[in-house]
């Protein structure tokens, strides 16, 4: 009895519908000791899930994506698609495991001193760049000086702004001094933007955008814009024997229906961008494995805090209460998403606050009451402007419009083409209500919340400014102890439910499909594909 129950527990954990804490609680209920359960958990975290058999060398992995990368130089790769390429060609000091826990990669080991102000990394020996040069501490210093340079144009400058200096202790030891304690620093070190670049080559004029060279598991071969990016296996990768596949090819397919057809017909054998509407088809296909994983792709609604009537928190709360998130999940995501009923930080993350502000089906009566209470007896007219080519947002639009109408908020729906949307709606905050979604690449609570809730951030276009909130966010980011940060993020999320500056909607699951011949692939919560190097293809 226990074994199959345990197996189903493991299954639901793997599919992400069960958080780690939940898993531990259930395992205890089954009479398994906490220690045994935790060891089970960690073994599952790193070792192959099912008995996958002996790894096999060879084969070509063809993965389908819907967007073009915007460059292969870590310092100038602003889009997610660039990161997915960068992480195959370069390596980082730390790396994230499927559950987004950082573990040492290029760094053999690391010490934290001065109360979290100094990080010293000892580098692995014998690591070579693709052109044969040895990796040394000088490369690490060069990389981070390059990121911290004033006009580097690095989109994730916030991650490196607390670094005071990077010093080479010896060819295989590098020391980072920080201006203030930075909680998520180790996770920042695992971010593709922090990939270590070859100092000698870059200084001699190599344009990494056109010809990336790193220490990663795959060597860059070619890039045909809007068609394909080709990699080949890095024979002297520092993890012996890996990667197992001979070559990898990223196929860019802009039309989502064509993407699914490509997977179904075998033109490609992997994709983590299956559109929700086609996931059932992939699942039903006999020679394809279909996985779901709750990551951090959350969709949120932005009421313009600087405009009537959305400057009133009651109205913003009414908007949140009016929404039927179950309908959003069913209608726009075909059941493949988790309604966000409280704070924005997802369940699987240690920063999660298990407190419900609104029931999944919403509370229209309370919402209309709030609207009346806020001084609009028979509701009000407003507009909702959406970016036209994000399928999930376009799908949710009509449902949100219908829900709001029930609470007396009559929103007229307008859409706009992406480039014009960024220009005339997003960056100028010219909207009453809009919607957006975001795949947080870091899986550190700070990354989920600061961008949206902190005053003046690029993504805080709803113009929400609260000194209390900013204080909590900065404190949470700069304290070193995990529980201290967790307590601060709990207070922060409670405040967010009162102020409701943005209305979190749903967290869309990562939908992955691949040929059953692909063994030992562990999906990552951040949507990255670093773990492809551990997978192999059976003949």
């Amino acid at each position: 009895m226990r074994n199959d129950e345990l197996a189903s527990l493991v299954d639901s954990l793997r599919s992400g519908t069960l958080s780690r804490r939940e898993f531990l609680r259930r395992a205890a209920a089954l009479g398994i000791s906490l220690v045994a359960a935790q060891s089970l958990l960690s073994t599952f975290a790193t070792r192959a899930w099912a008995a996958a058999g002996v790894p096999r060398r060879g084969g070509v992995l063809k993965a389908a994506f819907s967007a073009d990368p915007a460059g292969f130089d870590p310092v100038r790769g602003p889009s997610g698609m660039s990161h997915v390429v960068i992480e195959q060609v370069y390596s980082t000091l730390m790396a994230l495991d499927p559950d987004a826990k950082p573990y040492p990669e290029l760094a053999e080991s690391y010490q934290v001193s001065d109360g979290g102000l100094t990080y010293t990394f000892r580098l692995r020996r014998g690591v070579k760049f693709h052109n044969g040069d040895d990796l040394t501490a000088a490369d690490v210093k060069f990389t981070f000086d390059r990121l911290r340079a004033p006009n580097s144009g690095y989109s994730y400058g916030a991650q490196v702004e607390t670094i005071k200096s990077v010093d080479v202790v010896d060819p295989h030891t590098v020391q980072f001094r920080l201006t203030k304690v930075t909680g998520p620093f180790l996770i920042y070190m695992a971010f593709p933007g922090s990939s270590i670049v070859p100092k000698k080559l870059v200084e001699s004029g190599l344009d990494l955008n056109a010809k990336p060279v790193g220490t990663g598991p795959f060597r860059f071969v070619s890039y045909e814009p809007r068609t394909a990016i080709k990699f080949e296996r890095n024979p002297n990768y520092f993890e012996a024997g890996k990667p197992y596949v001979d070559a990898m090819e990223y196929r860019i397919i802009s039309d989502i229906t064509a993407l699914t057809n490509a997977l179904l017909s075998g033109v490609v054998n992997f994709s983590n961008e299956i559109p929700p509407k086609d996931f059932a088809k992939v699942k039903a296909n006999p020679d394809l494995a279909a996985l779901t994983l709750e990551g951090s792709r959350y969709n949120w609604l932005l009421p313009n805090n600087s405009k009537e009537p959305f400057n009133n928190p009651k109205i913003r709360q009414a908007v949140s209460l009016a929404l039927d998130r179950k309908a959003l999940v069913e209608g726009a995501f075909f059941g493949l998403a988790t309604p966000i009923v409280g704070g924005v930080i997802p369940k699987w993350n240690w920063g999660f606050l298990d407190k419900q502000f609104v029931p999944p089906r919403g509370d229209p009566e309370k919402a209309s009451a709030l609207v009346v209470e806020a001084g609009y007896p028979n509701g009000f007219e407003t507009t909702m402007t959406l970016p036209s080519s994000f399928p999930n947002i376009m799908a949710m639009g009509p449902i949100v419009q219908a829900n709001l109408a029930k609470a007396g908020i009559r929103a007229k729906l307008g859409t706009m083409e992406i480039p014009r949307y960024w220009d005339e709606v997003w960056s100028t905050s010219k909207f009453d209500i809009t919607m957006m979604y975001w795949l947080s690449p870091l899986a550190d609570p700070d990354d989920f919340v600061t961008n949206n809730y902190h005053c003046g951030m690029a993504i805080n276009v709803q113009k929400y400014c609260s000194t209390a909130m900013d204080g909590l966010l900065e404190q949470a980011k700069t304290s070193s102890a995990l529980d201290a940060r967790k307590g601060l993020y709990t207070k922060m999320q409670e405040l967010s439910m009162q102020d409701m500056p943005i209305v979190p909607l749903v967290n869309g699951w990562l939908l992955i499909g691949h040929t059953k011949k692909l063994k030992n692939y562990r999906p990552m919560r951040t949507g990255f594909l670093k773990t492809l190097k551990d997978a192999w293809i059976e003949s």
Partner: protein, 290 residues
């Protein structure tokens, strides 16, 4: 005289086949167009549900008694949406064709009537516009004007201008060639009067016939624009964007694509047949052939 090439049977043919065939074209075309235009005008009255009501619980239902043509991915009634879509598709097509007709007509008449350098310049510009593939032109125009139904209409209209201008120019030149225009000149009729009283009435018919065919093509073009996300924006239903979403559910819910496809077929077929029927009626040469 059109000569029948081979005289097979020598039996007696009843009423002239030609007469009936032309009338039948007009009849079928007229009915189909009528169906589309009426459903566009009385959309609110005749559609069983509102095209916007969402009920996720009953999404992707095949045609059943409650929803004669099934429901779409949001549980909206497909029949009501296809009826309301007629309103948009007909509006887009109507405005687009009139933009093409008026724009093309004016340019064509001017080029045909004044001739010489005016004709050369206008026709050169028309050739330029003509050589640019229609949809690319529409995409560029939509990008310039922004995505909205009104812009889709103007973009499609502009695409028709070269075609209409060529027709108008040829028709004007035909009318000019007939002597009585010189007679009109001699009795001192001003250019404008000649244009309105002599030329216009004679070229209206071929332009109108061409308009019918253009109408059909406009509906098609709107659907292609919707495919590229540039046509009518959700939640507004148009045959184009319904067809586009239907494409994604082709095997799970085929009716999502088939229904708007059929509606479009009726519209396009109707206008084409009407156009053909009118062409036979108005084209003197064909009438002689009877």
């Amino acid at each position: 005289m059109s000569v029948q090439l081979a005289q097979r049977e020598r039996h007696w043919v009843g009423r002239s086949a030609v007469h009936w065939r032309r009338f039948r074209l007009l009849l079928i075309g007229g009915c189909l167009v009528g169906l589309v235009v009426l459903s566009a005008i009385f959309a609110d009255v005749i559609s069983p549900y509102s095209p916007y009501d969402i009920d996720v619980a009953i999404k992707l239902q095949p045609p059943n008694r409650a929803h004669w043509l099934g429901t779409d991915e949001f549980g909206r009634d497909v029949l009501s949406r296809v009826i309301h879509a007629a309103r948009i598709s007909v509006k887009v097509a109507a405005v687009a064709v009139s933009v093409g007709l008026i724009g093309g007509g004016v340019i064509g008449i001017a080029a045909g009537y004044f001739g010489g350098p005016v004709d050369m310049v206008l026709m050169r510009f028309m050739e330029l516009l003509f050589s640019f593939p229609a949809i690319l032109l529409a995409i560029v125009l939509m990008a310039v004007l922004g995505t909205s139904i009104l812009n889709a209409m103007t973009a499609i209209g502009i695409i028709f201008i070269p075609g209409f201008s060529r027709l108008a120019r040829a028709a004007t030149q035909d009318v000019l060639r007939q002597q009585y225009i010189e007679a009109a000149h001699t009795i001192g009729m001003s250019d404008v009067r000649i244009l309105t009283r002599e030329i216009l009435p004679n070229i209206i018919t071929p332009l109108f016939v061409e308009a019918m065919a253009a109408f059909a093509y406009a509906v098609l073009l709107e659907s292609s624009l919707s495919f590229l996300g540039l046509g009518a924006q959700p939640p507004e239903p148009s045959w184009g964007n319904m067809l586009n979403t239907g494409r994604g559910f082709m095997d799970q819910a085929p009716w999502l694509g088939v229904v708007p496809g059929m509606a479009m077929l009726i519209g396009v077929l109707g206008f084409n047949l009407l156009g053909d029927g009118l062409r036979d009626v108005f084209d003197p040469r064909l009438r002689e052939a009877a």
